[in-house]
Symmetry: C2
Subunit: 133 residues, 2 copies
C-alpha cells in the first residue's frame, strides 16, 4: 500500500472533520438540561424526618451549586407518604457533580431507610413558568 | 323570657366574636394557595396540537393573571402522551377567576377531544425552589 501526498491530506482532513463532529456532539450532550420527575413513597413513621432532610438537601444544593436549577417537591394531601419531585440540572456533568457533594451524600445516607420506593422518570419541559420567588 | 341589659350586651358581644372568627376563617381559606398536580393522557394523533394549546394557555395566564403563580408542565420522554402539570394559584378565588378567563375557556374548548384522561391531585409543597427565569 502506497501513500501519496493527496491521500494523506484527505486522511488528515477526514480525521479533523470526524473529531470536530464528535466533539460538538459530546458538548451538545453535556449542555443538555437533565429534567426528571422522582416519585417516592416514604415510611409513614419517618415522614417528618424525611421531609426535613429533603428540604435541607434541596435548599443547600440550589444555593451552593450553579448547575442545580430547580426543585419542586410536593406531597399528596390525601396520601401524605407519596412525594413527587421535579428536578432540573443544567447538564449531565452538573448532575454528576451534584451526586458527589457532601450535602447529597448526607441526604442519601440519612434517608436510605426512610424511602420505601423510588421511581425516576425522564421528562421534557413543555413550559416551566413561575412568578414565585 | 326576659332580657336585661346584661344579657343583651353578652349576646351582642358573643355575636361579634363569632362573626370575627368566621370572617377570619373564610379569609384564611381564601388566602390559601391552591397547589395541585394534573396528570393527563393525550390522544397521540393530536399531541403536538395539545402541547401548543397548553403552552399558549399557560403563558397567557401567567402573564395576565396576578393570581396564577406557577405552571410546570412536562411530558415523559418514553411515554410522550403522558403529561404532568404542577399548578399553583394564589387562592381559591384566584383559581375560580382563572376558570372564567377567555384564554382558559379557549384552551378547554380546543382540547376537549384531545384529552383521553385527566386526574387532579391536591398536593402540599415541601419546597418550590428555582433559579430558572
Amino acid at each position: 500500500m502506497k501513500f501519496n501526498k493527496n491521500s494523506l491530506s484527505s486522511f488528515v482532513l477526514f480525521t479533523l472533520i470526524i473529531s470536530f463532529v464528535l466533539e460538538n456532539r459530546i458538548s451538545a450532550q453535556n449542555n443538555k438540561q437533565i429534567v426528571r420527575i422522582a416519585k417516592l413513597v416514604i415510611d409513614s413513621a419517618q415522614l417528618e424526618k424525611y421531609k426535613a432532610a429533603l428540604k435541607e438537601q434541596m435548599e443547600t444544593a440550589i444555593s451552593a451549586e450553579p448547575g442545580v436549577l430547580l426543585y419542586n417537591a410536593v406531597y399528596e394531601k390525601n396520601n401524605q407518604t407519596h412525594i413527587t419531585i421535579l428536578e432540573v440540572y443544567a447538564s449531565d456533568s452538573a448532575y454528576m457533580a451534584h451526586r458527589q457533594t457532601p450535602h447529597f451524600s448526607k441526604y442519601k445516607a440519612a434517608t436510605k431507610d426512610m424511602v420505601k420506593s423510588l421511581e425516576l422518570i425522564d421528562v421534557v419541559p413543555i413550559g416551566l413558568v413561575s412568578k414565585l420567588k
